[in-house]
């Protein structure tokens, strides 16, 4: 290694889902490499789906990620129902939204309290935070549990719910069972507002970027299960247009397939994008919480994503309460879904951003081609760009400080590396 060359490695990124590493190379005060490496073993979902029955796609793809299985269930259902020309009834759509609220809550709260907050508070993990601030961690655990209770009731269990099928659910809940959640959801809504206040008071690095935000947009609601694909640069497409807009590019120096726009642009998915594109669709208390936290029309400091995530938790509890109160038992928990061979497209808003599925199904109902683009696969390019922009003016800082900020910057995106296993990246360094 020549004089003035520094290599900073994080060999095993902690507090992310899945396995990843970070590699930085600095030569003579110049940053020459900032790479997020993924060494999650490939699991070949797109290949193993071939030959499976189209009705199996939701349960199988749920196993891509144990943290956001509902997102996979929902995107797979959306794609197959698109294929078969089925539009679910209003009560089914409401139950799906409620289920998704549960997942947003448990996933966001896990990330806020257990994965991201330790960075800002200077602890290695939530258990250590609990020694000094037990009430804070207990509040987080109780909030998470409230989200899990929704998923467990509608889905049968918290992880890999069993109650989702094409066209709807195997069994619709009893009104009394949903109402039994109510008191806890009421408490949780208040606690979620407190969470926004707490995290908005954290100290954030002074750093902003001009992003191309991409998310779904729905005519009435903050987006979860359906909507058009929109961007902050004016794109507005049906989900069937996803492949025309975002394409997987093959990086020469790696095995990575990085998603970019057709013109090579890097896009940003997730809470900041949903917020920027759908602020007008926030529920009243979520909007009030955002205003009180000083969030403007959009948030361009990625380190503040923890605040936006907390605002989305408020929204999810508010929506959950609305849906629970409006729920009336109904007869047909699933609409019949008749096979129509062809291509189906589906996208929903996973906690980490838009999750896209596309399937081709033959006349026997067997999948012949599958394409799944997890939000982290798209966000990898923006994470690396954030790292470069943050690092360049800060290279004089000591390695430990840089390493810490970089890890936090990666966690801003709550990257789910398990989901991204098909864009495994290899680090090849040449002179």
């Amino acid at each position: 290694m020549s004089e003035g060359t520094r290599t900073i490695e994080v060999n095993y990124l902690a507090r992310v889902e899945g396995e990843g590493a970070l590699h930085l190379r600095i030569e003579q005060d110049r940053l020459v490499a900032a790479q997020l490496r993924i060494f999650e073993p490939p699991r070949f979902f797109e290949a193993l789906l071939r030959g499976r029955d189209f009705r199996e796609a939701p349960d199988i793809t749920a196993r891509i990620c144990g943290i956001c299985p509902v997102a996979y269930l929902m995107s797979a259902c959306a794609a197959m129902e698109d294929l078969c020309g089925v539009e679910v009834s209003a009560p089914i759509a409401d139950l799906r939204r409620l289920l998704y609220c549960g997942e947003w809550i448990e996933s966001h709260v896990l990330h806020i309290f257990m994965l991201h907050l330790p960075d800002f508070m200077g602890y290695p993990d939530a258990v250590r935070i609990a020694r000094d601030h037990p009430e804070l961690v207990r509040m987080g655990l109780r909030l998470k549990k409230a989200g899990n209770a929704i998923v467990a009731l509608l889905g049968g269990r918290e992880i890999h719910p069993i109650n989702v099928r094409l066209g709807g659910f195997y069994r619709a809940p009893k009104r009394a069972d949903l109402l039994a959640l109510r008191a806890e959801l009421e408490w949780a809504l208040g606690a979620a507002e407190q969470t926004v206040a707490r995290v908005s008071a954290l100290a954030f690095p002074d750093f902003e970027r001009d992003y191309e935000f991409v998310a779904l947009r729905h005519p009435e609601h903050y987006p979860m299960n359906t909507g058009r694909l929109v961007s902050s640069r004016g794109v507005d497409l049906p989900v069937t247009g996803y492949d025309d807009y975002l394409q997987e590019h093959h990086e020469v120096h790696s095995t990575a397939l990085q998603s970019r726009t057709a013109s090579g642009g890097v896009v940003h998915l997730g809470p900041l994008a949903r917020y920027a594109l759908n602020r007008d669709r926030l529920t009243p208390r979520a909007r009030a919480a955002a205003d009180a936290a000083g969030l403007g029309a959009q948030v361009c400091n990625p380190f503040r994503s923890i605040v936006v995530r907390a605002v989305e938790v408020v929204l999810a509890f508010e929506e959950a309460l609305r849906l629970v109160d409006a729920y009336r038992e109904f007869d047909l928990p699933a609409l019949p879904v008749e096979l129509r061979p062809g291509v189906g497209y589906g996208a929903t808003e996973a906690p980490r951003g838009t999750l896209y599925h596309r399937y081709t199904v033959d006349q026997d109902g067997l999948i012949t081609d599958a394409k799944i683009v997890a939000p982290t696969a798209v966000n990898q390019a923006v994470i690396e760009a954030d790292l470069r922009h943050y690092l360049e003016p800060n290279l004089h800082l000591p390695d430990d400080t840089l390493r810490g900020v970089c890890e936090t910057a990666i966690r801003n995106y709550d990257p789910c590396i398990s989901c991204s296993a098909h864009f495994l990246k290899l680090d090849v360094e040449r002179d």
Partner: protein, 257 residues
């Protein structure tokens, strides 16, 4: 002086992270658990990663790369007890579907540069590589069983985990049999208990996510499923899912190939 605490490590191989997440989903017990157990290594939850040896290792995920085949030996060497959690670790997981296909072809389907992908032709359970002291089934594991396991470890006794079938849990729960009542195909008779018979309680047949029970009779079940109208190709797929690599399911699937 407090008593020395059990040093626990949580490891991940090819998997979805769901089984280790089950540990974090023990919201009510987590902080108490952290009192009784020293979580020495749990990368998903803590950036504090302490070196071995560990009293107990929980291992999630299956062996699918040459590198992981080496790594599991290291984990074994550093662990007093090694417990596998979930269908990936105990049967190879859904990714074991490759065991019946050509993985080279799959690499080309999924990756732009297949030649640089490290992937074995098979996805195998941990017990195929090293000695395993105890197994928890399920995709994912059940939280109840996970807590029972940890309580047993702390008390130095054997975990009380049933090896009966899902059917018995249905009976215990008072759920009418979906196969008898509605003619819904169900793998409950050949699947190991543990989940609490969730699927039948939700009007759905069991799809076998806890893997085969002890001494199952899948041939008899297949006959019944055929009477219910299932064709050979469907039967094949039914046994080839999240526990495709478990011998009893793999063998029964092969009979319908």
């Amino acid at each position: 002086m407090t008593a020395p605490r059990l040093r626990l490590a949580v490891w991940k191989f090819a998997s979805c992270d769901g089984c280790q997440l089950s540990l974090l989903d023990c919201e009510d017990e987590l902080l108490a658990l952290a009192e009784g157990v020293q979580i020495a290594l749990f990368a998903e939850a803590s950036s504090n990663m302490l070196p071995g040896p560990y009293d107990v290792s929980l291992v999630e995920g299956s062996i699918t790369t040459a590198h992981d085949r080496e790594r599991i030996q290291q984990v074994r060497a550093e662990s007093g007890l090694l417990v596998t959690i979930g269908a990936c670790a105990t049967a190879g997981g859904i990714q074991a579907l490759r065991n019946f296909r050509d993985v080279e072809e799959w690499k080309q389907l999924v990756y732009a540069r297949p030649e640089v992908i490290d992937a074995l032709a098979t996805s195998t359970p941990i017990a195929e590589h090293v000695k395993v002291d105890f197994e928890l089934r399920g995709c994912p594991v059940s939280k109840r069983q996970l807590l029972e396991l940890l309580a047993a470890l702390l008390a130095g006794r054997r975990p009380n985990v049933s090896t009966a079938s899902v059917c018995e849990e249905c009976k215990a729960r008072g759920t009418p049999c979906v196969m008898v009542a509605h003619g819904t195909p169900c793998l409950g008779p050949v699947t190991q208990a543990g989940c609490g018979a969730i699927c039948p309680a939700y009007n759905r047949g069991c799809y076998g996510c806890f893997g085969p029970k002890e001494t199952p009779n899948p041939a008899a079940l297949s006959e019944r499923l055929t009477e219910l109208g299932m064709d050979r190709a469907t039967l094949l797929r039914v046994y080839r899912s999240f526990n495709a690599g478990a011998p009893a399911f793999a063998d029964e699937a092969a009979r319908h190939e």
